[in-house]
Symmetry: D2
Subunit: 140 residues, 4 copies
């Protein structure tokens, strides 16, 4: 089990990151667990690019939110981690059924957390994007 | 001199990437040159995060757009390059005076272009974010 | 099944990359499969650093060799892929029982291959290093 | 001026990282300055790869050493920084006249240092490799 439940993590994100839902509620935290989190990005025309593909920045935001949620759920609502690096490999064009970001923390240390995110089109197992992120942990 | 002028590059981006200006015109291409481009992101509350900082995704979009513009200006309006990887180091909290992305292509090959972007707060020389991106070139 | 068998891949690497075994035979390809490969680095004092840790460059070489082997086994001995980028997260200090690199190609396209490597100390499941690599594929 | 002089930094590296000179003295620290360092890798057949190119791991070691030297020279010989991530773009085949790594720290914070390295063939300005590295700073 993670330190915070799914509902607790959702409430914290809604309160602290209302801008996640600017213009509509598209990013949905679906699950949290020990060192893991899963987040969904609903399809919406605002994320579209020519050729029917989802924009890079929408996917990058999804990866960052999902990693952030995984850290939060596993350290509790004590203070804020800061993104220090993010690295993306764009592998395939995403479809238009929404995206699923599955993330796993590879390290959750006192000073540094490192996690990986894999993004697939909803209903498919083909990787659309793989990302890793590093977060500086707040002094605890 | 680059292959396309600043005005030609701007026109092409406006036509092909209208979503760059979704909700307002905040991303401005300021200069293009041999293997270089500079782009500005105007300050707007929609890019803000708690603590007065600019959102990561807004900066990541800025880096991707700026690199894309540098490639475009230097190969001409023939076809579209595809982002294959992006890598970001977030170094300092940005201020609220807008951001400047200065980018330089380190390689512009037949199959691959690789560039670096340095983002500063407008009017300051302190690096806020450094990024590198890799683009798969269209067959020419 | 991969295109080349384990023995065929080993023979090709020994012939084409004899420098892998400079000063002794420490890098061992243990398995190849569809989009996968596993390579072992035996412990040796030459890879040690103060504090009993394995050197970063020895791990970086291991990751690059393992990804290369996975590509080779899955495209056949036709020509050489070229490393275009490598990215490493160093997560924990490795032990002194040798290292295992498990790699999986996330994309094996006509022009680009992208893979992930996870390095653990032999006999442990704790991640020591996670890496991703991008390879430009030879025209086929 | 940096905190340590060139000679002091060299002496410290020789004492603490004798493995840098395993099998011969090929890595030479040429200069240190405020947030900067320059290191040379002499040509030697042991670094060669088929086609006359320098091995990736030799370049990766050069980048890591150079960044480490820049940090050391700028914080003094108090304790050891730990590499947490390294990221490489390989841009062109290196020549056989030795390599020069020029590095610049983009951030030297209390907890994290981030730097960039550009590697060229000696006597040329063409970039062979560009790298960024992140180091966790020892508590001071």
């Amino acid at each position: 089990m993670s330190v915070m439940s799914l509902d607790e993590t959702r409430d914290f994100l809604d309160r602290e990151f209302p801008q996640m839902h600017d213009g509509g509620r598209f990013y949905h935290l679906e699950a949290v667990g020990p060192l893991t989190a899963r987040m969904r990005l609903d399809h919406h025309d605002r994320f579209l690019r020519p050729g029917g593909t989802v924009s890079g920045p929408a996917m990058m935001a999804l990866a960052d939110f999902a990693l952030y949620a995984a850290i939060l759920a596993n350290i509790g609502p004590v203070a804020l981690a800061v993104t220090t690096s993010l690295s993306f490999n764009f592998l395939r064009r995403p479809g238009t059924d929404g995206l699923i970001a599955t993330c796993k923390l590879m390290k959750l240390g006192r000073r540094l957390a490192v996690g990986e995110v894999r993004i697939t089109t909803r209903g498919s197992e083909d990787l659309v994007c793989q990302a890793t992120g590093t977060y500086s942990m707040p002094p605890r």
